[in-house]
């Protein structure tokens, strides 16, 4: 068990200050993906489709980021929030949604990227928004 809200806050704060923006986006998306995978595996989540659906969008976003910059999985911080606290389904969803929104915010403030990066950023942005939509039912 770990304190997800606290860990997520710390993560969002830390990535906010970063200058390596794609790496920060990767870190947040990765943390969100791990979290949704854990939530999908949590007891009582058998009938829940949205964790799996969200995880797929996030993993597609990660794949897109890694295609733009193959060194990302090595250089970016890989953070796992750990096991969720039981019976915290809706709160846990909120936390993941916040991570996704933070990743999107980092993506948006990116200073004019290189020519390869710009289309990738657009695709990642679409996938992250999609993840938020799968998770919460609305766009960020």
């Amino acid at each position: 068990m770990s304190d997800w809200p606290l860990a997520a806050e710390a993560l969002i704060g830390a990535t906010d200050a970063g200058s390596e923006h794609l790496a920060d986006v990767w870190t947040l998306a990765y943390a969100a993906e791990r979290a949704t995978l854990r939530l999908a595996a949590a007891p009582g989540a058998e009938g829940e489709v949205r964790w799996t659906e969200t995880a797929v969008e996030l993993s597609a976003a990660l794949a897109e980021l890694e295609r733009a910059d193959p060194s990302l999985p090595g250089v970016a911080a890989a953070v796992d929030l750990g096991h969720p606290v039981p019976n915290s389904g809706s709160d846990a969803g909120d936390i993941v949604a916040r991570l996704i929104r933070a990743a999107l915010a980092d993506l948006r403030v990116a200073p004019g990227g290189s020519t390869q990066e710009t289309p990738a950023v657009a695709r990642v942005s679409g996938l992250l928004s999609g993840a938020h939509l799968r998770l919460t039912g609305r766009l960020p």
């Binding site: 993906e33 791990r34 995978l37 999908a40 595996a41 058998e46 009938g47 489709v49 949205r50 799996t52 659906e53 995880a55 797929v56 993993s59 597609a60 990660l62 794949a63 897109e64 890694e66 295609r67 193959p70 060194s71 999985p73 090595g74 250089v75 890989a78 039912g137």
Partner: protein, 488 residues
């Protein structure tokens, strides 16, 4: 409209052959032109049958001399004989039939067209070298299934032959054409004997319904905007793509991850569907509540949930791994279509519909269960192919993990790993990860095929219960409720 299958085209040809035979028996030929045209279209139909037989038999060199001593089986010889008899009578080098003005000409031309379309449909499953290009193409080369198709064709020949006799009689009675032009058609018995040769060798072996008759186009054309139909088509494309690529170096873990997630979702939906039908069973089949239906539905739901959990573990394993091969855009697009189609059929606003709404009546229950059967079977098949794909990727050393994520314990005794971690390089997947992936796939494919079987039993039990009218009640759902399935 459902995608057309081989069986349907053959049925169309059969009904046109029948119509042609009736028309020539009822209506005289008015003019020499009409007679000439009727003869040309009839011979063209025989050519169509011959081409079809040739296609089904394939090219067996020994069969070019069917009367010589060969090692070919009696079945092959019978098929070759039939083909030769047809070719002897078929049109050769004639122009394409013009506008047919006798109803028999129109019917025969239509039958020939349907037969050629049916052959072309089968051919979409092969590449130019007759190799298999779809996961279903093996049926065309399976001796029993191929023979079954030849037997069905022989029945068409048998039905076509009397039409030639009547045609010859009509031509001769009006003296439209000289006798030699139709002499070979006057006696249908040789052609019928050729057909009987094939029919008599038919071993009455039960052939699976999904044999060649069930084959559809390899690439069904785009359908209308019903999300569930589009999802079923997308599943078909995913299956095709997975089969085409599972032995190639173009599949990476992110693509495998999408397929695994798809398996999770499909099994979850199947579990919810059988569960909903189970919950509604007392209302839908009031007289059957004590029968075996509730038990098979419960069993199917639990098998599907187990399979979904097993695929989730595969998915988790894959999420931690990387390959240099990017995610396939086509797989991603079709995954989205399937996901949205399933959601459209079963959920409203991210929540499962309650059973009353999901299965309002028996027809809806059968429709829903029937619709999910093909995705379920497909993800299970795909899983078995990907089990091999993943094993090959691991063996080839193409699966990596970022060394930076290795824990202290994992690198403790391995100086190279320590260095890799410091240099933030990628290292091959650890033996533990490889094992987990292998076990994950093997467990998932096992429980997945069990889920497919249990689901099939549940569907069969629901269908059987529905079509057997209860005492005093005649209301029954038409079997066609199950036939909307895409070509499989």
């Amino acid at each position: 409209m459902t995608p057309v299958t081989y069986g349907e085209l053959r049925g169309l040809a059969a009904s046109r052959i029948e119509a042609g035979g009736i028309a020539i028996a009822q209506k005289p030929l008015d003019s020499p032109e009409a007679a000439r045209q009727a003869v040309i279209t009839y011979r063209d139909l025989l050519a169509g049958l011959a081409e079809h037989a040739a296609y089904l038999v394939g090219h067996v060199p020994a069969l070019d001399r069917p009367y010589a001593v060969t090692t070919a089986s009696s079945q092959d010889l019978a098929a070759a004989l039939l083909r030769r008899l047809l070719e002897e009578r078929a049109a050769r080098g004639t122009a394409a039939p013009a506008l047919a003005d006798h109803p028999a000409s129109a019917a025969w031309a239509g039958a020939a067209e349907a037969l050629r379309a049916a052959r072309d449909l089968l051919d979409t499953h092969r590449d130019p070298d007759r190799r298999w290009r779809t996961p279903d193409a093996w049926r065309l080369d399976h001796p029993d299934l191929r023979w079954q198709a030849l037997v069905d064709l022989a029945e068409l020949v048998d039905a076509t032959a009397p039409g030639g006799r009547d045609l010859a009689a009509r031509v001769l009675e009006a003296q439209h054409l000289p006798e030699p032009e139709v002499a070979d058609l006057r006696d249908p018995q040789r052609l019928q004997a050729g057909a009987s040769a094939v029919l008599s060798l038919h071993r009455d072996r039960p052939i699976e319904l999904s044999a060649i008759a069930g084959l559809g186009l390899a690439q069904p054309p785009p359908q209308r905007a019903d999300p569930l139909q589009r999802a079923l088509q997308a599943i078909g494309r995913l299956r095709q793509r997975a089969w085409e690529r599972h032995d190639t170096p173009y599949v990476g873990v992110s693509t495998l991850g999408h397929y695994a997630a798809l398996a999770v979702l499909v099994h979850q939906h199947a579990a919810v569907a059988v569960q909903a039908v189970g919950a509604r069973a007392p209302q839908l089949w009031p007289t059957e509540s004590s029968g075996r239906l509730p038990a098979v539905l419960t069993e199917a739901a639990s098998a599907c949930r187990t399979a979904s959990a097993a695929w989730r573990e595969v998915r988790d394993e894959l999420a931690g791994l990387r390959t240099p091969i990017p995610l396939s855009g086509n797989v991603r697009d079709d995954y989205v279509l399937v996901r949205d189609g399933l959601a459209h059929a079963t959920r409203s606003r991210n929540e499962w519909m309650n059973p009353d709404r999901l299965v309002p009546d028996r027809a809806a229950a059968l429709h829903l269960l029937g619709a999910l059967r093909s995705p379920l079977a497909s993800v299970s098949e795909i899983g078995a192919w990907h089990r091999r794909t993943s094993a090959r990727l691991v063996l080839a050393g193409e699966v990596f993990q970022p060394a930076v994520r290795l824990t202290g314990d994992e690198v403790a005794d391995e100086p190279t790993l320590v260095q890799a971690k410091l240099d933030r390089r990628a290292v091959p997947a650890s033996p533990a990860q490889q094992r987990a992936l292998r076990h994950g796939y093997s467990a998932a494919t096992d429980v997945s095929s069990r889920a497919v079987r249990a689901y099939g039993h549940a569907l069969a039990a629901a269908a059987e219960t529905t079509w057997r009218p209860a005492a005093g009640r005649t209301e029954a759902v038409q079997p066609s409720a199950l036939l909307h399935l895409p070509s499989r």
